[in-house]
Structure formats: structure tokens, C-alpha cells
Symmetry: C2
Subunit: 491 residues, 2 copies
């Protein structure tokens, strides 16, 4: 019955099988960074930016890249600078640049057929889509039995919110029909009861995307939000933990309890204003500055949502896919109840979300758009999952992450007036600088020495290496940071 | 200065050049539809749907496809049925299936490098991105000097609305600073003045996407909107024209004036409630049932927007890319003032929007997300534009469109109790059935005979063939429709 899908997959496996045996975590090309221009970005990037500026807003462009010459964890820029990349296209590259297995996939004509004939997956999917869905289900979070594919992280969160609203209304209606004249007539003009006054609870410091629904739940940087109308939805505090954690156990416990109480109060307060259909939370607030909370906090939050019939939406767009040393960051919580919805994108190659049986909607065309994801991404994801499993990259992230965390702790102790609060789960690690200017100096100084790291929050430096980041590369990164911090501490 | 980009482009040109000479508009493979199963969808699709249903909502799946065996305007389904496809993946395939030139692109290693190293285009684009932007500017609507790339149609409209809000607030502030404490503090909690009470005016019957901002401007079908909270934004009537147009000149003129007056009144009424920063309109309401208005209506609407400082956003996601017999449907208007923003996706392969110098924002990270489109789509778009230009597919759409419109007019006269109101611009054509059930019978009946067309609105049948749709294929489509309508008229 699945002939076409299976045939496609079998052909693919043949191409893939020659590469999954590859277990060397090194880079096959570069063994260290090399900066050849006086400054980074160099003159070619500056010239390209001037050219692009004629037709495009260029304010966010760091530098232009030469992807053909990039390899593994080394990104080559347009000026020929070889950079050790611990940011990986905003945390979206699972296996680094020009991974051999990926390149081989495109020698297969069925892969190419799915690119050049981009299906409207909601209406006319390729037969292989059924196998693609099953492939995605092979890493579904525990307890989540369903999946939908979408194009990007924002789209995944927007549609997850819609699923939460639909679920809330279905429960509220019980046996009553959905398509009454009153509901139909009012929804077409954006009014209740058809377009109900409902809300999604989010957390201060959160980032869930920038389309208008997502942006109403994003509270990380004002430049994302200013001048844009938003839904007036409830916002709870996210715990502000003090570091080192072992010194502030009591304070941090009280802080987390304060935030949990606030959530409960908001659920109560909004009951008659715009009932909270769902809450959305990142297991680690990423863009907001790598803000963590304890597993206990998340388990209790999950329980509060459960008790109050609030859908629990876990945004794993940045935390998913092995980097935290579990496949999903929320696996660390060991919560007895899974999230209702888990959204993904970035390193998962495709966007989408997983959800429980209970969340499943009954009618087609409710979560829908023209493309519903991109079939050309599925072979890349499948190959990535093969590599993650066969090379046990979850364990690799845990092991390398421990080394990263130790190294940062060491740097923190050696430069106490410059950086603090090093923290992490697996390879998802960060530290804070004493202020924004110092953070910017660290990021810029490291880049000049060939290390690319990310800035986030007010004063944080974040590391989002590929899953193939090696101990040898960590040593290089730490050396560069050391020398950067040393220069800064002397100034 | 553009060495890397140019090198990329030159290599690509070599691959492409062997195929742009291809001027035969026929299909190289199939010359007629062939239905081999008793019904469409056939048993393999039914089995695949059952399998998919275990992990996925399948309500909108028409049938599964075999893209490897599809060719030109013929789509082969999982059961081996060969269908003449006049819907083309919801109007998103410009050159039909397995277009030779596309397949060849992926033999080029630089194309593959841009797929397997998907850039975060807003931060670290490939050097070739500058040439890609210029390539897109080669078909920019007249008067629009800037472009931004995005992933899909919804994302393009969401960000176009944000650009309109930003533009409105920049004009309102004049010389005053944006980043006051009051603006920053309030926007972070979704409140004015930082998150201002502004609105986007849309039209009854419109479709602009399904994310929460877009959905607040979509009013085509209740199933898209029910249970989902929406921004309370103003909605104007879209003209309901009567057909044939030449018989109802006076009535249609009055109807259009009524709608224009309503727009002016809404702009006035909302001035103190939630000022209208932009209005969004499709040149032809597509999902809403192929609803047209006159060029005069659009020119006057453009003038009203101009006089009232309302950004004019033209949604060309479905109408763009040559199908109407102009590259952009709004070219037909001959408006003295261009739109402020034109959004695109679907047949443009990449999403995004064009905009005027005046709309350009000053700061990075305001229109931004991780991927900002997909570099793997640009070579496909570039090749498509080469073919559209070298084969003058704009003229082909005009000529073939005239034949399509004549043929439908003829059918309409022969089956007056079954269909009416045939209409179109270029190959963007439709007719109405007398009621929803008859429309559904026509779509289903034609499919059984091997013709795939789209349903839209309450009772419309729409044609969205590829730009390579031939007269011979039109004859086949008309024969099937004729025989379908004949059966229905006898029942």
C-alpha cells in the first residue's frame, strides 16, 4: 500500500548508507580559524553590504559567507576568513557545513523531484509524505502521537496557538455544534463568539517569533516589538535565577514559586476577560539571554496548566534536536505529564509541531496553508536523524557540553570582573558579561580572532555549536575567549 | 567586488543556457489524461490516507502524488492516474512538473551548497544573495525599489503589515525619537504607546493567509477563522459585480462607488479608535471565489489611500508572476501611483515583498527571522524568470487566457442553468455554478475524467494552469468540462 513511499525511501537509503558509517567528528578541511583581513567583517563584506543596501535593509547583516568553502564547524566568509562557528546560522545547522551525507542526497533523482515539484502538502502530498511523517514520529516527544509540518518557527508557533484555541473551544462547546449562524457570522468580521476573546499566556523575556500572534508572546527585545500592534495577552514573570545556583538554592526556589503563583493568579484573573487557552514557554529562554529555570519549576508549571485546562505549549525551536544532551530539552524535566504541543524548526530542518491525540482537530483546512512545510527538507532531516542516532550525538552533546561548562566556569573564575553566571545544559551554554558594552567587546574581539559566538539578552554570550562540535574545537574556542577576556580585563 | 556572487551566477548560467532555448510549450510525455481507477482518489490514496491519519490530520488531502512520473501540465497520482492539472499545487507551480531546466540546476554544486548550508539570510547570507536580490529586482513592480525575501505568503503579508505599521509610526513621530522609555516599557508588555492601537483595513471575501495577523484580514471561509481570536480591524465591502459585465455597467459602477465610499468612511471612523496604517487588497480575490473589480476601482482606491496616508499593500501572492497576462496583476490598473508594498510567494518560488524607498525602515532586526526565505529557491526563481522572459510567457498567458475565456463563455451559453459568470484576466479564469452542490459535482465529475480544477468561494470553479499551458491542453480541458456539464444538466 505504501509502495511509492517505500520505493522512494529505499532508494534514498542506498545513497545514505554509504555515509552513516562516518563517525569522525572532525572537520576534514580546517583545523583552526584563520583571519586574513584587518577586521571582521572585511572589505568584501563591506562592499557587498553597500551594494545590497541599494535594494534591501542591511542593518542585521554581520557578514557575507562563502558556503562552498565552508566545512564542518568552520565558516568561511566572503573575504576568506576561516571562522570557528559556535553560532551555526542562529543555531539552525545540526551537522555543520557541507556535511558529506547531505551533499550526496542531492545526487538522488527522487530528492530532486521533491524539490522541483514542491507539493502543496495539505492537498496533494507525494506518497513518500507518509514515510516522512513516520520518520518525524521516530523522534516525537514521549506522549505526543501526532505531527504537522510547517515552514518555519514562527509559523509553527502561530499554528500551535491556533490548535490551542481550537482545543479550548471544542472543550467549552462540549456537544454543541461549532458552525452555528452566530459563530459563522461573527467570526467573518473578527468578533466574538466566532472569534472569541481568548489569550495565550507567555513569559517576560520570552522569544517565540515575530509574526503578529507570536510577537504578542515575545518579550525579549524592544526593537522586535516597537510600533507593532499586539494582542493584549497575559504575561507572567520568568524566574530570574542567581548564579552560581548552589549558592542561591533558597532564593531561587522562592523566585520560582513567586512566578508559579503569578501564573495561577493570571489564569484566575483572565478567566472572565480573555480566558487563557494555552501557555507557551521555552525550556531555556534563548534570545532572551539563556535564562534557565529548574526542572521542578517546569514540572509544577505543567501541573498548573493541567489543573486549569490550559494547553501547555513547549517551544523547542531552538532547544530541540539533541543540543541540550537530550533529544528534546523538556526531556530533562522528567515531568509525569508531557506537554500538549511541542513546536520545532531550526536544527530540525523543517518546521512543525507535535501534539497529543486530545489536541487533534476534527476538520481539514483549519491548520493549513499552501505549502505546509517543504518536502525538500525531509531527506535532510532524515539523514540528520540517522547520524544523530548512529553516532549517539545526544550523548556527545552531553559529554562535550560538560567540558564546555567546565571550561566556562574556569574562565569565569579567572575573569571575575568581566564575566559571570556561566550556565548551560549540554552544549546549550552561555555566560554573562558585566555589562552590554563588555559583552559586545567580547563578541567582537573573539570574531577578530576567528571565533563566532552569539549575543543574546542584555549582556549574554551564547554558544550554539553544531552537534559535531569536538573537544579539540572547544579547546580552540576557549583559547580565543581566554585571550579576548585577557585583553579586555587589562583595559 | 561581487566576485563570489558573480562566479556563482556565471556557473549557474552555464547550466541554464542549454535549456532556455526550449520553446516547445507541450508536455513531452503525456498527450491526454488517463484515469485508471474506478474513482479518484483511488485505492492507494485511500490506503495512504488511512496510514497518515494515525499521526496527522488528513481532512484536506485530495490525493497523494507520484511526482517522479508527473510531467508538464500532467500530474500523476499515487494510483497511476494521469491528470491534466489546471490547479498546479494551489497555483504555485509556474512551469509545471519536472521542468527540465529545474532538474539540471541541481547538478550544479553551488546550488547544492546553498541547500545543504541553509543561511540565516538576515545575518550571514551567501555572497550570491546580492545577485539574487538584483535578480528579483529585475521584475520589481514599477516604482518599487526595495525587496525583502521571506518563506511563504503568510509570512510575507505579516511582515508587510509590520512595515506599514512602522512606516505609519515613523511619519507620526516626525523628528521625535522612537526609543523613549515610555515606548520601550509599554511595547514589552503589548500596550500603547509602544504597541500602538493601529489597524489594517481589509475587504470582505479577502484571503491573505492564516497566521493571526493575516487571519484578521482574511474573510473568505468560516472554517479558516472560527474559534481563533482576531484583531478587531475594519473591513470594507469588496464590489459584488454582476455578469456579464457589459450588461451591468451602471449597476457595477454604482456598486464600486459604494465600496469606495465605505473605505473613506472607515478611514474617518477609525481615526480615533485604531487608525488605519495600511489597507491590503488582492487584485483579484482568489480564494474568495475569483471576485474582480474594475481597473478604475483600484485606481480610485489607490488615490484614497494616498490622500489619507494609508499604506497601500497589494497582495499578489496568487495573482503575481505572469498568469494574468501582465507580470503583476496590478499592472493592468495603469494607476499613476504604484502600490507602497507588493507581496509575493507561490509561483514566485520564494516569498517576500517589494516596497518603495519611502517605506524603508532605518533599523536592522525589525523585519527579521532566522531564515528570511530560503536560498535554495533563488536559482529556481531565476531560471523561471529566464524562461518567462525568453518565451514571452506573459504574452502566452494573455493569448491562451483569451482562448480560455472564450471557451468558458461558450460553455456558459450552452449550459445556462448550470454555470454562469465566466470571467478572467489572462489565464486567471473562473466561472460560477448555480449552487455549491453543483460546483462540487463539476469539480468531482471533471476529476473522474482526468481534469483537476480548483474550487473557491461558495460556488466557483477556478483555473490556475501553469504558464506553459497550451491551446491543445485547453481543448482537452474544455472537452472534459463539456461532457461533465452535459451529464450534470441531464440529471
Amino acid at each position: 500500500m505504501l509502495t511509492a513511499g517505500r520505493a522512494f525511501r529505499c532508494r534514498l537509503k542506498r545513497v545514505v548508507s554509504s555515509t552513516v558509517a562516518f563517525r569522525d567528528l572532525s572537520n576534514h578541511g580546517y583545523s583552526k580559524p584563520q583571519v586574513v583581513t584587518e577586521d571582521v567583517p572585511g572589505p568584501k563584506t563591506i562592499a557587498l553590504k553597500q551594494e545590497a543596501n541599494k535594494v534591501h535593509q542591511i542593518g542585521s547583516i554581520n557578514f557575507f559567507c562563502d558556503f562552498e568553502r565552508s566545512k564542518g564547524n568552520y565558516l568561511v566568509d566572503a573575504d576568506g576568513n576561516v571562522l570557528l562557528d559556535c553560532f551555526q546560522q542562529i543555531s539552525s545547522m545540526p551537522l555543520g557545513y557541507n556535511y558529506e551525507g547531505y551533499v550526496n542526497l542531492f545526487k538522488d533523482e527522487s530528492t530532486v523531484a521533491n524539490i522541483v515539484n514542491r507539493a502543496a502538502l495539505g492537498n496533494f502530498p507525494p506518497a513518500s509524505y507518509v514515510d516522512d511523517l513516520k520518520m518525524m514520529m521516530s523522534v516525537a516527544p514521549k506522549g505526543l502521537s501526532q505531527v504537522v509540518t510547517l515552514s518555519c518557527g514562527s509559523c509553527s508557533n502561530e499554528n500551535a496557538y491556533k490548535a490551542a484555541f481550537m482545543w479550548h473551544q471544542r472543550k467549552s462547546r462540549g456537544e454543541l455544534p461549532m458552525n452555528t449562524d452566530d459563530n459563522i457570522g461573527s467570526c467573518m468580521i473578527n468578533k466574538p463568539p466566532g472569534s472569541p476573546e481568548l489569550s495565550i499566556l507567555s513569559f517576560a523575556g520570552a522569544f517565540h517569533g515575530r509574526t503578529l500572534g507570536c510577537l504578542s508572546t515575545t518579550h525579549s527585545k524592544w526593537i522586535h516589538k516597537i510600533d507593532i500592534p499586539a494582542f493584549d495577552w497575559p504575561i507572567a514573570d520568568f524566574p530570574k535565577l542567581r548564579y552560581p545556583l548552589e549558592e542561591f538554592t533558597r532564593e531561587n526556589g522562592a523566585e520560582e514559586q513567586r512566578c508559579l503563583t503569578m501564573v495561577e493568579e493570571l489564569i484566575h484573573q483572565w478567566r472572565h476577560k480573555a480566558p487563557i487557552a494555552g501557555l507557551v514557554i521555552e525550556p531555556i529562554q534563548a534570545e532572551g539571554g539563556d535564562r534557565h529555570a529548574s526542572n521542578d519549576f517546569f514540572c509544577k508549571l505543567r501541573e498548573i496548566a493541567l489543573q486549569n485546562n490550559v494547553a501547555f505549549i513547549c517551544d523547542e525551536v531552538q532547544t530541540g534536536m539533541a543540543i541540550t544532551g537530550e533529544f528534546w530539552a523538556h526531556d530533562h524535566w522528567k515531568s509525569p505529564t508531557p506537554p500538549d504541543i511541542v513546536t520545532f524548526a531550526k536544527k530540525m530542518i523543517s518546521g512543525g509541531f507535535y501534539f497529543t491525540d486530545d489536541m487533534k482537530w476534527d476538520e481539514g483546512y483549519r491548520i493549513f496553508n499552501t505549502w505546509m512545510g517543504d518536502p525538500s527538507k525531509f531527506p535532510i532531516l532524515e539523514h540528520t536523524l540517522d547520524v544523530v542516532k548512529s553516532q549517539d550525538l545526544v550523548k556527545h552533546a552531553r559529554d562535550t557540553g560538560n567540558s564546555m561548562q567546565s571550561a566556562l566556569k574556569d574562565l569565569e573564575q579567572r575573569y571575575p570582573g568581566v564575566i559571570n553566571s556561566s550556565r548551560g545544559v549540554g552544549m546549550f551554554v552561555a555566560f554573562d558579561a558585566v555589562d552590554t558594552k563588555t559583552r559586545d567587546d567580547i563578541v567582537k574581539g573573539a570574531l577578530r580572532k576567528g571565533l563566532l559566538v552569539g549575543a543574546s539578552g542584555n549582556a549574554s554570550v551564547r554558544f550554539r555549536p553544531s552537534l559535531l562540535f569536538s573537544k579539540a574545537e572547544l579547546d580552540i574556542a576557549v583559547d580565543i575567549l581566554d585571550s579576548t577576556l585577557s585583553s579586555i580585563s587589562k583595559n
